[in-house]
Amino acid sequence: MRIIDAHTHPVFMHDGATPAAARRLVAHGRAHGIVKMVALGDVLVHGRLPSAAQCRRINDETAQLKRWHPDYFIGFCCLNPTLGARAVEREVERCVTQHGFRGIKLEISNNARDACMGAVMAAARRWNLIVLQHTWSQTNIHQRRFHSDPADTAWLARRHPDVSVIMAHLTGCGYRGVLEAKGLPNLFVDTSGAFPEAEILDFAVQELGAERILYGSDLPIRETSVTVGRVLGAHLTAAQRHLILHDNAAKLFRL
């Protein structure tokens, strides 16, 4: 079983930034069949509104992981879109040209519908990058001013049909979130988020098709055996499992 994990934080709240910790994580991943990880960076270490310098430090850590394990980690560039178009363009260009990053990671600096996302999506288009947007149902959280609901991330994907968008956290998006993602071929959902709630992955496959779903763990917040186990525990065909665990990500990231 070969797995690509589309959602990881190898460095989390400063933990994991040493060569030994990175080696341990790669060994851990390989023991669970994970052949590559998308490293999204230590995205909340400086709070939800990192400065340009803090974004650079987070992305430099991801680049360091990539240098230590170039065949294992795929880098995504962490941004704070509210810093404005110049800052976004400069950091994306730096991460792509100097570090070979393949995507952009957006956390909770702003809502996916905000005007500042224009520059982010333009940069994604220019450099052919995947955009992974942290997403969680705001039904019970009430932070929509800066926290994207599935409806907001779906809006972003609908507005930019030529950019591939990953709506992070299937479980956090919930059943309503799966329905928001329907009919958008450029929108993918990762399987991460919260505990392994039964049946929701089955529902997502039924409503969206296995081609639109990517395995993601959100480690170290979650346990790899659990996040893989929930895919193995769902009522899927072997072909659907392969798509979710590996093939969709391999195609999307052009591996």
Binding site: H32, E199, V226, G229
Partner: protein, 251 residues
């Protein structure tokens, strides 16, 4: 050989979960390596009094001896003594469960003193269920949140001679309680982090942890794999997987 300390029968109103008969549940759990399970009825959470659901539970598992019924008692109801007695008369039970967050009382409830005494006198283990779901994902019109850990700490301090089983605690909650209280064991249904059990067992002895999957709300395979694939000595895995439950529930 695994014993699952956190399984339910019956309908959950807020998600399209499979509703299994007792024999179907036995076969399903067995397909994931679980040979015995402590089972409650989800109806006991939502009905005005839990006995119809407890009776449905006893009837359902009568012919499936590997499913051990755990009735739910609401000690905030005037008739909890009768309910407890009726459950003891109805089936050979080893434990009863309370679900304060859903039954709208706090663990400071005065009736809990005679209730805990009665449960102890009957030779039963008391399971305190702190949550059944991630509260961020609860039905929009529900206000139920997990039991505050400070309440549980005060409760454990109030009954130092009784050893409780707590289900549904998050990993940091288990660690916080374990630092100050020895009179509880916890299931691992809601404990999760990278290398969960290796980290948890640094904070609480393995003899106080129990496999609990929260089936059918959570994916059973995923929950069992948290234990099965943990990098721990086989002896530790055996404690968490079955030996502790066997000891705590007299199985």
């Amino acid at each position: 050989m695994l014993i699952d300390a956190n399984v339910a029968l019956g309908p959950w109103p807020f998600a399209p979960l499979p509703e299994r008969t007792a024999p179907q549940l036995v076969a399903y759990l067995k397909s994931h390596g679980v040979n015995r399970a402590l089972v409650s009825h989800l109806g006991a959470i939502f009905l005005p009094e839990p006995m119809p659901a407890n009776r449905a539970l006893f009837a359902a598992v009568r012919r499936t001896p590997t499913l051990l019924p755990v009735p739910v008692i609401n000690p905030a109801l005037a008739t909890w003594r009768e309910h407890l007695a009726a459950c003891i008369a109805a089936a050979p039970i080893r434990a009863v469960k309370i679900i304060p967050a859903y039954h709208n009382y706090s663990l400071r409830l005065p009736a809990l003193a005679p209730f805990v005494a009665a449960v102890n006198a009957a030779g039963l283990r008391l399971i305190v269920a702190t949550r059944l779901e991630d509260e961020r994902h609860r039905y929009h019109a529900l206000a139920v949140k997990g039991l505050p850990v400070a309440q549980l700490a005060a409760f454990l301090a109030r009954f130092p001679a009784t050893h409780f089983v707590c289900s549904g605690l998050y990993k940091p909650e288990i660690e916080t309680l374990a630092a100050t209280h020895e009179n509880f064991s916890a299931d691992i249904a809601f404990a999760e982090w990278l290398n969960t059990l290796a980290l948890l067992t640094q904070k609480i002895p393995a003899r106080r942890l129990l496999l609990g999957t929260n089936t059918p709300l959570f994916d059973t395979r995923a929950q069992v794999d948290k234990l099965r694939l943990a990098r721990l000595p086989a002896k530790t895995l055996a404690l968490i997987g079955s030996a502790n439950a066997a000891r705590l529930f007299g199985l």
